[in-house]
């Protein structure tokens, strides 16, 4: 016995390392991509509002802002496109067990997502390069299909994620018994029961991130003394977009929570650290340690009341979940609380903006507000999205497809651990480069220069009147 154990132990350890590495690679890629995806979905709408205002009101500042936001969107969209491509590679490379068995069940959603991504890429190319060659109104109108593609693309991606939470579109009993996927119905898989709640919660999130994120960046410029109209517009318009989206997101969050309680009791029990099946109180604080929940402050009956309008309604607790099907409680609990806390804080900020606007018909841009609130809203929105995705993804563990396929059965047999390091390097490089380039652009804009890329050294000294008209020369002097 002993030699066998000695032989298999390192093998098992290696396999577990690879599983962990695969999960981290996925988490890292999704975490990186989700921020860019949010901006890709919602930024075009913000640009459309700004650009339209510029054309309607003969507002030169708004047009300049639209053009600059467009340049930023181009950089971010390019990075988002490549991180999205990496994800589609990783789906196959890391989880052949999922894609081999269920590729045909959920693949259709990816196919539709591809269509909308295609439309987005086409119209974005036209918008970014069409400032001179297209009539102004048609040029503005190209932003509309970009924004709509983002909305529909989000729907498709959430169809996939919703399916992972509530698998549908095949005979589950047969699969569990035999491992064969039968009676495939890709439409039922697409329109699984988690799709609409998750979509209703995630779509506003993209507008929150893009709105608050953009406002945040311009607010930093404002605080550094760049108090021109362009910066004012850059704060106010995106801020209003975010403020409109955040209440919608909080309301739909409630719908999602009820839905999770219905369909994924293990996830809900971990979110609420609800120990014993029975009436559930709303838990404030608390964590799990050594199999016990500590430091929990409970408002009795409130969770049951919220879910079923009955303080004595039974809610599944952690005690009803088998040990090998219990998600890591603390991670789920902490990320869930973080998301709720940030959501409420952002809602409060939005309420205050709304109140001030209602009283004075003006958005408050006093220093204290800008310094503390607007600047903080951007990072807060990104953190909230990360926390929300952590809640739903870690909350589903150990399942990749809830109740159907375990993560450990879907992972590749290949050694992936070394590639985690490579992936980290790639993302750090990509993120740092994007940040660097955007900072350089902003610096040039603040110095009052629109930017053209130099492709060669500037001519040493061009005598007056002797203009270099070659294409390279034109590029150089522009």
């Amino acid at each position: 016995m002993l030699p066998v154990a000695a032989l298999t132990a390192p093998v098992l350890a290696a396999a577990e390392t690879d599983l962990l590495a695969a999960r981290w690679m996925m988490a890292l890629s999704l975490g990186f991509h989700i921020v860019l995806a949010c901006l890709g979905v919602a930024l075009p709408t913000i640009i459309w509002i700004v650009h339209r205002r510029g054309l309607r009101n003969a507002d030169h500042d708004a047009l300049l802002l639209a053009r600059r936001l467009g340049k930023v969107a181009a950089v971010l969209f390019a990075v988002g496109a490549v991180s999205g491509t990496v994800l589609s590679f990783l789906m196959g490379l890391l989880w052949p067990g999922l894609m081999g068995d269920f590729g045909d069940v959920i693949g259709l959603a990816f196919a539709f997502e591809g269509i909308f991504f295609f439309l987005e890429a086409i119209f974005l190319g036209i918008y970014l390069y069409g400032w001179k060659g297209l009539p102004a109104r048609i040029h503005l109108a190209t932003l509309i299909p970009i924004g709509l593609s983002g909305v529909f693309g989000t729907l498709c991606i959430l169809a996939v994620n919703g399916w992972m939470n509530t698998p549908a579109g095949f005979d589950i009993d047969t699969y569990l018994a035999t491992g064969e996927v039968t009676d495939v119905d890709p439409w039922a898989a697409f329109f699984n029961e988690s799709l609409w709640p998750q979509f209703a919660h995630m779509l506003p999130a993209t507008y929150v991130v893009a709105g608050f994120g953009t406002a945040s960046i311009f607010a930093i410029g404002w605080l550094r003394g760049r108090r021109d109209r362009l910066h004012r517009l850059g704060i106010v318009i995106p801020l209003v977009v975010g403020c409109i989206a955040i209440p919608i997101q909080v309301i739909t969050g409630d719908i999602v929570a009820r839905h999770v309680a219905d369909t994924q009791p293990a996830k809900f029990a971990a979110m609420e650290i609800h120990e014993e099946t029975g009436p559930a109180g709303l838990a404030l604080f608390g964590f799990e340690s050594g199999g016990e929940i500590r430091a929990k402050v409970e408002i009795p009956g409130l969770t049951s009341l919220i879910l079923d309008f009955d303080p004595d309604a039974t809610v599944t607790g952690l005690d009803a979940i088998p040990d090998d099907e219990t998600p890591p409680v603390n991670v789920v609990r902490f990320s869930f609380q973080l998301m709720i806390g940030l959501g409420v804080a952002m809602l409060a900020a939005a309420a205050w903006v709304g109140w001030r606007w209602w009283r004075t018909r003006e958005i408050p841009l006093g220093d204290g507000f800008v310094r503390w609130v607007v600047v903080a809203l951007g990072p807060a929105s990104v953190l909230a999205v990360w926390a929300g995705w952590t809640t739903t993804e870690v909350g589903r563990q150990p399942w990749i497809a809830n109740g159907v396929l375990r993560v450990s059965d879907a992972v590749t047999d290949n050694t992936v651990a070394p590639f985690l390091a490579g992936l980290i390097v790639v993302y750090v490089g990509l993120g740092a480069s994007a940040w660097f380039v955007l900072r350089r652009l902003a610096a040039r804009w603040n110095a009052g220069e629109e930017v053209a890329t130099p492709y060669g050294p500037r001519p040493a000294a061009t005598p007056a009147g002797d203009v270099d008209t070659s294409p390279a020369g034109r590029e150089r002097v522009r």
Binding site: A78, V86, L108, K132
Partner: protein, 357 residues
Amino acid sequence: MSEQLPEIVVSILWAGVLAYAIFGGADFGSGFWDLTAGGDRAGAAPRARIDRSIGPVWEANHVWLIFVLVFLWTGFPEPFAAIARTLYLPLIAAATGIVFRGGAFAFRKSSTTLGEARFFGALFASSSVITPLFLGAAVGGIASGRVPLEGTGHLWTSWINPTSALGGVLAVGTCAFLAAVFLTRDSDRDGEAELAEWFRRRALASGVVVGAVALVGIAVLETDAPTLADTLLEGRGLVLVSLSALSGGATMWALARRSFTVARLPAVAAVSTIIIGWGVAQYPWVLVDEIDIDAAAASDPTLWGLLIAFGGAAVLVIAPLAWMLRLSDTGALSESADRPDSSSAVLERLRSESTRG
């Protein structure tokens, strides 16, 4: 109809491969010429040209790859999983190339100093060569029957072998050839005669090299990928290979005569016929000698779904895509400095109206 369903889906998948090879290929090839354009001073003009030519279109051209991946894993999930298992090293390398290429191209576009442009340009250009090299190598592994359906094929020899080497070199070469032909015409259209000549020489040279490699390749396939070679060199396969050779010759002839607009057609035909030829030669195998189309295909409802997705794409995407390619082709998407913003005209009009009123 439903008996031919897998074949129809495979044909659409192949159309995606074709589109990626031509549109994406021309973009990759542009990177090859960017890489080899020489120093700052000598390379400035071609690099600016490349940037203007592929800037508006590269993102859309890149989507074809995603189209192919999605069709493969949805329509043929088991072979897809097998390919991902066995060929994961070259696929990771290709994905890395795609990351650096896409990122660096956008970063160079927004660079503000020559040093930055040079750094991101080098990254963009070198990964433009790496990506088709590894994709070609992966294709070689599939075509030579080195990807088993069950289990994992050899992690190294499945993509380091004669057919893969041929696939990689041919991929890089055809990309470079296509790009040179397209860029010659773009330069010529914009009145950059010197630049057109610069690309024309490279189009001719790369055409000769690719033709020679393809000839040698036949011998390689005969010994290393017999299943493929057998079909490729008889019947329909042979017709396609001959058409490809003829089209290549026609391209060289048009280039020699400086008919740059015309030259694009046979260049596209030369690449298309060889890819269709490869498809015909591999038919009916999805993984050569392992699993055929019917056995590998997903269930009927899913295949129907894919057809509907394709129909949706045809309705939604083709018109905008054609519009974009047309705009790009006529130069409407160029940012040339001697033309005013269309929106500034609107501003002027609105301002003058408001002062009059």
